[in-house]
Symmetry: C2
Subunit: 363 residues, 2 copies
């Protein structure tokens, strides 16, 4: 049943080899992959219901009849097993067939039920919670992944430009969100990479606001936080703007946020600590008197998920490396006045950084 | 710190009381809720990052600063704890403060990491995997929930009517999906209840197809599977239609599916086994020679999630009860010809059933 490794196309061959190296180093016979995006990253199989069992010689894909055709098309080199019933029995049968003893898994992605039931069925083989071997690999994007992220950013930016022209006094937050998601979808997005946030006026001071029925008046600032998922890869952007006369303090916080945003981006380079980049923005905002009003992390990595490694916050232990792609999104939120946040998508290059997004940050 | 139970509004007071009854029967001091929709159902708090610890006397809501305002507004009767860091420390601190010993949790919803780390921190208190006390309660909807499901169906149906008129030869599947999601969003949906499936011609034979770039020709059937989420509650519908001359076999399978759909709905009544309702449709389709081509369950319950209890398939052990809301969606899929599926949303009433959806099933 061993497959020829030569038959696995890139980038999957290299990814499988990297994870297999980790298995060998950790004296594991197999690794059990449960997260859909890890499964896709590792094998190319995008089906929403699947697991992967990886050993030194085999890639076993467990799914069900609904994804039969997709599995054959997307990962022809894998051994495909179609489960007839849900539950751990099919997984256990394959693990037994592979005669493996020490099976690593990511404890964040396996439920207590799955662990207990599968653990019993595979004895004397054992499931061993292990440090995620895929997260550090997924953090550093390949050129192919960066291209797809560029497309996701382009689709989001084109949609924003189309919708911005269309915003008029009287439209609701919800209508603007619907319109921007429509414009992304028809340009090729699978969907928004998260539910679009459109917040007018004082609503913008809630960092995770759900777009509602408030109607826009042109003296109010507009905050839009949006992104597209294109060919599985995400983008994530935020802009604030207004047309009439906003409150003077809103103008001030927007200026401070823009300075923090620009300074933090300048600090993005390989070898920099993510926590230090956060500190650059936070220092500047604190100096301006708004330290408490910047109540979230400066940014986060993204890719197949809109939030993934590295962490870009005060307590992050991650160090920036070439190929990482992160958001830089300082914000200041003042109840009653509003919130200002400016978010761009930044690639860590060999020598510094490249800002992948291109919308102007000025109103 | 005990709160007066009188201050908890309905429907939350009744729900909290039901879950507390289960705790008492199982000799548990507390129940740890980790699923966002369980948290919302039980407390009214909709924040995306939260946990609930429920005891006989307390409702503790653990979230973070981003959801501070929302928690106060949505569940003012709960004790709110804002976590400064992610991870189990804050949860452990509250569990210790409550002096509880036996804490139930749903093993499907807690990860191995959370269980291990929280388990260590709360000793000598213990986390005990328990049968989900909330699933059976969530299956039977209250009148208020049924109203919200009706609204979710209405929004989905109105969007379908608007889009159907607009479909012309040359449009792509993706464009139709974008349009239907837009029409739902602007009618008040928070979003689609799942990514809309639009499949033309032979693509319709893949039950979980992703809408793509195929352009419609009017000799091809169109399959649309869509739903709206309105005020947190879902709808889920499927229709197939065509304008020109489709393949005769496609017409045949659509007729068989419609008969199975109608017969299964007639079998929906309180006391009926869900497996028997599935059997009604399956027998009819098998008799017509397409048993193997009906390769999924007849339907499923839905509500706060688009898939929840009861199960409506061959192996279901659930019995239909008044207030349950299920989809009835038989289908026949023939590679190269296409797939036909007709899906409606059906409420189990005291005496029989009510079809909540209202679009005609004929082309």
């Amino acid at each position: 049943m061993a497959i020829s490794r030569a038959s696995v196309p890139e980038p999957y061959a290299a990814r499988l080899a990297s994870v297999r190296d980790t298995l060998t180093r950790r004296k594991l016979d197999a690794y059990f992959v449960h997260d859909r995006m890890d499964q896709y990253w590792l094998t190319g199989f995008s089906g929403e219901d699947g697991s992967v069992v990886l050993t030194a010689d085999h890639v076993v894909l467990l799914t069900d009849g609904r994804f039969d055709e997709a599995a054959t098309r997307e990962a022809p080199y894998a051994r495909k097993v179609l489960r007839k019933v849900r539950g751990p029995e099919a997984n256990a049968k394959e693990i037994k067939r592979l005669r493996v003893r020490r099976i690593g898994f990511n404890p964040d992605q396996v439920s207590v039920r799955e662990f207990n039931e599968l653990g019993k069925l595979i004895r004397p083989a054992r499931l061993l919670a292990t440090d995620d071997p895929i997260r550090p690999l997924r953090m550093q994007k390949t050129p192919g992944e960066i291209d797809r992220i560029r497309r996701a950013i382009h689709v989001a930016e084109e949609a924003f430009k189309a919708v911005r022209k269309w915003i008029r006094p009287g439209v609701t937050e919800r209508e603007v969100a619907a319109q921007i998601e429509f414009e992304m979808r028809r340009r090729g997005a699978q969907g928004p990479s998260f539910p679009t946030i459109v917040a007018f006026g004082p609503n913008s001071s809630l960092p995770h606001y759900d777009s509602g029925d408030r109607r826009w008046m042109d003296s109010e600032p507009v905050l839009i936080d949006w992104g597209a998922q294109v060919d599985w890869y995400c983008s994530d952007l935020t802009r604030v703007f207004w047309t009439g006369a906003v409150l003077p303090e809103y103008r001030t916080i927007t200026d401070v946020v823009r300075q923090a945003h620009d300074a933090a981006i300048e600090a993005v380079r390989p070898g920099a600590k993510a926590a230090s980049v956060d500190a650059v923005a936070r220092r500047l905002i604190t100096k301006a008197g708004y330290g408490k009003e910047f109540n979230h992390a400066l940014g986060h990595g993204f890719g197949l998920r809109v939030h993934e490694g590295p962490r870009v916050g005060r307590k992050s232990k991650d160090v920036l490396r070439p190929g990482m792609v992160v958001t830089i999104e300082p914000g200041i939120y003042i109840p009653g006045v509003g919130g200002a946040r400016i978010e761009d998508d930044v690639l860590v290059t060999e020598t510094g950084h490249e800002v992948l997004s291109s919308l102007p940050t000025t109103v």
